[in-house]
Symmetry: C2
Subunit: 279 residues, 2 copies
């Protein structure tokens, strides 16, 4: 049985030697989600359906449309009168007295990561609004980090079926996986995890590890910083700007986490190494 995150489709498989046969394939579902805050559209994202409320809450927090979870009164799907509910428009209602974000301003300032203004560096504009994580005393043995990708794969369900999804996960300092979320969009998977943490009253993510299954972009590091995660670990390569931001805000950034090897790109002191035998 395919869930809402997986679609089955008839395809033609071409095998070695060019012989073709009809087959059934499982695809990661991608659907648009329009997000509204206090009735105003703030953005549309292509996402894998599932954990949509977490996605909405995580997006609002990580993009700083709201100051925190307490600003949010309710999240609900909406559909226009007389039309079918397609579960592709979500409305976030704010508590009385909470200022309604101006999406044009806020989105330019945040998701566009500042960048905009000629001559002003992206990093500087972002850093002003970011917490500094240097004081977070988390330390994690390298063996614990090395075990995370396998643990997350065990906890994933959709990825194995489709090969088309990104995963993000939250782990404690002992490497225990607290939450795994998947999406066709890397940033959506991260927002879902942050939204989960908000609901569990675990924000900021002090003392925790945010894991991502693929590459690590600036956007992912930015969301992690806003959520307060002191360590981000990625299976693949980070970008230059991701490393630069992590460096400046006191975050430990780990990349190419594969087998028991990894690269430490910034603030390596949080990763402790085994004492060599014989010392």
């Amino acid at each position: 049985m395919a869930g809402r995150g997986v679609a089955e489709r008839r395809i033609v498989k071409v095998g070695a030697g060019g012989e073709a046969r009809p087959a059934r394939d499982r695809l990661a579902v991608e659907e648009p989600l329009e997000l509204r805050v206090a009735g105003r559209p703030v953005g549309v994202t292509m996402r894998t359906p599932g954990n949509d409320f977490e996605l909405a809450i995580g997006y609002c927090i990580s993009e700083r449309l709201v100051a925190g979870h307490d600003d949010i009164e309710a999240v609900r799907f909406c559909a226009p009168e007389g039309q079918a509910q397609e579960y592709n428009v979500l409305t976030v209602d704010l508590r009385p007295g909470v200022p309604v974000p101006d999406p044009s301003l806020d989105r330019l300032a945040v998701t566009s990561s500042s960048c905009g203004v000629c001559g002003k560096s992206s990093i500087e504009a972002v850093r002003v609004a970011c917490p500094n994580l240097a004081g977070d005393g988390l330390t994690v043995p390298s063996e614990v980090l090395a075990a995370i990708p396998e643990r997350v794969r065990d906890a994933q369900r959709v990825f194995e079926q489709t090969g088309g999804l990104h995963a993000a996960a939250l782990c404690d300092h002992g490497g225990q996986v607290l939450c795994v979320r998947e999406d066709v969009g890397r940033h959506n998977a991260v927002d879902k995890v942050i939204g989960w943490a908000a609901g569990e009253r675990r924000l900021p993510l002090a003392g925790m590890v945010l894991f991502v299954s693929g590459r690590c972009s600036f956007e992912v590091v930015q969301k992690a910083v806003v959520a307060g995660a002191p360590l981000v670990a990625a299976v693949s390569a980070p970008s230059s700007l991701a490393v630069e931001l992590a460096d400046q805000v006191g975050m430990t950034l780990v990349g190419f986490l594969r087998g028991d090897t990894m690269n430490l790109y910034s603030h390596p002191h949080r990763v402790t190494l085994p004492v060599p035998a014989g010392t």
Copy 2:
């Protein structure tokens, strides 16, 4: 020597058994690019510097901010008076008489892929504005498709160094690579290729193959449709919505193109298979 697309950085490498050593690593550069059309900001993207003019032109065409290359008078970097040129703001000037796109409207209608309106399917809204590719008579032998990933890798320069970049390429019906572009953003690599084709007066991409190095999202298929490419081939998985759109507009979508095996997700008739020996 690292080019503008590659940044060198000192890191700590943790090897098997937990031994750590300082190393130099090469990172894919990610920097914000603000795009303005006729003086109005239309968007900001995180991109790998390089081929920025192609990116701007390809973006304007694939997001239908302009009707075609002829609408564009010039593309230039801009910097505010008295500030340093950081090459992160590009202005596209339109020819006299060309209507200035309303970014809020156009971007909602296009990059958000319609999606917005409750009860209206994303696909339908997009399809109206898309060319139908069913009439494109391209056929490509499966062996020719199978050879493309290796040819593109040979033509790539940055990816091998950093492991952090997506590639997009344009190939003719014989599998010859006409253009390869790389970027931290999958969609940016596609826009750069489309922008190159615009400059070469090769739009629409009739009879050509658009290749992408990773997964194939709805956004990639949408850009390819607007540019008129009848066949898109990806190394990894397509999303459900990517397949749905390809199916509806008459595009052949090939996924998991690895070795001489591949999956044909839509309109498989354009991929011809070798005649089995003995027949």
